[in-house]
């Protein structure tokens, strides 16, 4: 199956192109929307086959010996060999192939992307069925799959960058899917522009790598970097490269300071939030950092920054998540926070643990998002948790699966999130990063708290939607979903208050599968005190072949410490859950009460620390001012002084030379003519017409010449 590797990204691309062309043809030429069954058969089919191929390829890869688990296939040469001068003065032959690489790292990624992607495609059939842009949605979604798979399968930085930009484009298209809503369009632009800042860093890093190593191929770069010393004391070239790479990662993976786009990205359809803005695309930054472990591990300064930013983002986003009312926003901040965890793991040097969290997080976060989508649809497009409550009774499946997801993210033992989060906490502590461990530890408590707040507000307590006003304002969403009501008949439909309803099977089945995944996914990475070796780390070992040797800060101090730490983190998770239970279930605190009792703190958290406003004031308005200034400069100096000025000078010179031409040049000509005219009045007198006077002149002339002749020849 390995030799069909190139088909894995290609199938979704073909699906996307096919759906797009059919859609365009039907809409533009025939004037009707394409058949929905056809659209989702192509889209889901392409992803399903890609998923099967991925599983086959991974199986084949696993059957190879541990050290030989790398498969590369070159499709074609993209940039033919050209000479490139390196920074050290030598010349290298620079060449880029369009090539795919399957190793344990990309195997994990393609498994997550195709498997979760497939489930979300299935889910979208139900969720988007009533939407007028059904074909457009699936075309974009398939295109995203192509870009993401290219990103994780590329064997060099340039292919990775193609995927990197491709997912950015699809993210933009899908956030702005309801482009007739201004907020959606704005959110799309925001995501795109913020990502641009990060991408600039990535491009710079890529160019630095090219002129340093003379190649962009992962294997070659990392092998070369493997021979470099660790920049412990200095800020060297590797530190520069990795910092720029990390800037790219902060954009794509929503870390401080570039995280602001991700919460706004929730304007997109919920399956998109689940697939792109939780499970796959936002983890691209983590993937890239893990991929470049050979570079990062040799730049301790960068590592410290990565860990610091990761953990700061984790706690920062978690606190913002406390009092958000929009169910998807809570999840969005939770995603930012969890991404922070992943970077923390990378920053403390345990790339495998970071990737492990990517993998488990994909399951439970996709599950949570899809669950929230189900809730939103069941609530007839209501996202405000203040208007929910008591949904357990109406949506049992959604409730059960979301509860599993929440337990997983909170880090309850036995579920996927427990293993990965615990691994990160333990590695941070064991590696001697006590402060980072402590902040991450607090974040774990926060996570448990806000996630259970979400559960209690949504599924427990008294239903608040009954006393809500007529849900008339809800229908501003362009996509319907109401048609599902008839499928699940029997709920009060069309009688003033419409009761929530459970979602269709195509949505529930992916939820169940993901819930199962959220339970079992973690068992591949059980800590070494349970299984003899950590299977996950063992599997990924070849990826870290060129990693700098890590100096241990007593990381081996016994399983007993590790178990103690585990107990501690379970305890704080339990505390968070209990707190949420106490406040929102026992005391029945309503979202409206939070503001009253917490005042300033609430304002601060609810308004996201005013970061958007600060960015607006400090950066966006300043950028606009700069633009206005440049415009004024352009208008006054370039256009005014430069263009119009030189125009004026030319015109004046032209006028001057016109005057010169008219009076001097033409004047000279006219003067000659005038003189000829005047002189002719004088000299014409000679022509008397009298023959004898002519003869006289001839006579005198002859005598004169003759005399002269005689005189001279004497």
């Amino acid at each position: 199956m390995l030799k069909y590797l190139w088909l894995i990204p290609l199938l979704p691309l073909a699906g996307s192109a096919l759906i797009g062309l059919i859609g365009l043809y039907r809409v533009r030429v025939i004037g009707r929307k394409p058949n929905k069954t056809l659209v989702h058969t192509i889209a889901v089919g392409a992803v399903a086959i890609a998923c099967l191929l991925s599983l086959g390829a991974i199986h084949d890869l696993m059957s190879l010996p541990q050290d030989e688990r790398v498969y590369e296939t070159v499709s074609f040469t993209w940039i033919p060999a050209t000479p490139l001068k390196l920074t050290n003065g030598a010349w290298a032959t620079f060449k880029v192939d369009w090539a795919y690489r399957l190793d344990p790292l990309s195997a994990v990624m393609i498994f997550v992307v195709t498997f979760v992607g497939f489930l979300i495609h299935v889910y979208s059939i139900g969720y988007m069925y009533e939407d007028s842009g059904y074909w457009r949605f699936f075309a974009y979604l398939n295109l995203f799959m192509f870009a993401m798979l290219t990103l994780v399968l590329g064997n060099n930085f340039l292919i990775l960058f193609v995927g990197w930009e491709g997912v950015g484009l699809c993210s933009y298209l899908l956030i702005g899917f309801y482009f007739e809503k201004k907020s959606a369009g704005d959110a799309g632009k925001k995501a795109f522009i913020v990502n641009r800042i990060g991408d600039t860093g990535f491009v710079i890093a890529m160019m630095l790598i090219a002129v340093t190593f003379g190649t962009l191929n992962f294997e070659e770069v990392f092998r070369a970097a493997g021979a470099w010393p660790t920049e412990t004391m200095t800020w060297g070239l590797l530190t520069g490269i990795t910092l720029f790479l990390f800037l790219g990662a902060t954009g794509k993976s929503a870390q401080i300071p570039l995280y602001v786009w991700l919460p706004d990205a929730m304007e997109g359809p919920t399956p998109v939030s689940a697939l792109i803005h939780a499970a796959t695309m936002v983890t691209a930054g983590v993937y890239m950092v893990v991929r470049c472990n050979a570079l990062f591990s040799r730049a301790p300064h960068t590592m410290a920054i990565v860990a610091g930013i990761g953990v700061a983002t984790a706690i920062f986003a978690a606190t913002i998540g406390f009092f958000q009312r929009d169910i998807k926003r809570v999840l969005a901040y939770s995603t930012v926070s969890q991404l922070g965890y992943m970077f923390t793991a990378c920053g403390v040097g345990t790339f495998a643990a970071g990737l492990f969290h990517v993998y488990t997080h994909a399951f439970f976060k996709a599950l949570l998002f899809l669950g929230s989508g189900s809730v939103i649809m069941g609530m007839h497009h209501e996202q405000d948790m203040a208007k929910m409550g008591g949904l357990r009774k109406y949506m049992p499946w959604t409730y059960a699966t979301m509860l599993i997801g929440t337990l997983a993210i909170a880090g309850i033992p036995g579920l996927a999130g427990f293993f990965s989060k615990d691994e990160i906490l333990w590695r941070a502590y064991g590696g001697g990063h006590k402060i980072i461990w402590f902040v991450a530890f607090l974040t774990a408590g926060c996570t448990a708290f806000y996630m259970f707040r979400l559960i209690f507000l949504t599924f427990f307590g008294q239903p608040r939607f009954l006393d809500a006003a007529e849900p008339a304002e809800e229908s501003h969403h362009s996509h319907g979903g109401h048609g599902q009501d008839t499928v699940h008949g029997g709920v009060g439909h069309g009688h003033g208050v419409r009761l929530p309803h459970e979602s269709p099977k195509s949505m529930i089945i992916p939820l169940v599968v993901l819930a199962v995944g959220s339970i079992v996914a973690g068992y591949v990475g059980m800590p070494s005190y349970i299984t003899h070796t950590n299977l996950w780390e063992h599997f990924l070992d070849p990826v870290f072949r060129y990693q700098a040797p890590v100096s241990d800060h007593g990381g081996h101090d016994a399983a007993s410490t590790e178990i103690l730490m585990t107990a501690l983190s379970v305890l704080i998770a339990g505390a968070g859950i209990f707190l949420a239970y106490w406040i929102y279930n026992r005391r029945k605190t309503q979202p409206a009460d939070e503001q009253r009792s917490l005042g300033v703190v609430y304002q601060c958290f609810f308004n996201k620390y005013y970061v958007d406003q600060i960015y607006d004031a400090l950066i966006i308005h300043r950028t606009k001012d700069l633009g206005t200034g440049l415009w004024a400069f352009d208008r006054n100096v370039i256009d005014g002084l430069g263009v119009n000025g030189s125009g004026w000078v030319t015109r004046s010179l032209g006028r001057l030379s016109g005057v010169f031409d008219k009076y001097i040049v033409d004047g000279a000509v006219n003067l000659l003519a005038w003189m000829a005219d005047r002189f002719s009045y004088i000299f014409r007198r000679i022509q008397t017409g009298l023959v004898q006077s002519y003869a006289m002149v001839i006579m005198v002339g002859v005598i004169a010449f003759f005399s002269l002749y005689m005189y001279l020849s004497k």
Binding site: R685, Q687, G689
Partner: protein, 100 residues
């Protein structure tokens, strides 16, 4: 003894008379006649030198000059007659058509 100098002096006198006639006389016929005198002064010169140099080419040339002079006189008289028919004038100082 009549020497070449005598001939030349005679020729000079005739030439002078001819030139003065051409320049001073008003009647066009007299002017024509004065031109004939100039021709003859030249002819005397030619013959005189022919004799002195014992070369007959000078005399042959004189015959040619006489021939051309006859033709010239005929053309000149023809013009004078045509002029007189048109203008009824014969004085040169009254004929100044070709002036500015």
């Amino acid at each position: 003894m009549i020497t070449t100098s005598h001939y030349l002096i005679l020729s000079t006198i005739i030439l002078t008379i001819g030139i003065v006639g051409v320049l001073t006389r008003r009647n066009v016929l007299i002017v024509l006649m004065s031109i004939e005198l100039i021709f003859n002064a030249v002819n005397i010169n030619l013959v005189a030198f022919s004799k002195q140099l014992q070369n007959t080419i000078g005399q042959v040339f004189v015959v040619f000059v006489i021939t051309v002079a006859a033709a010239e006189a005929a053309v000149g008289l023809g013009i004078v007659i045509a002029l007189f028919r048109n203008k009824e004038k014969i004085n040169l100082d009254e004929i100044d058509l070709l002036k500015w």
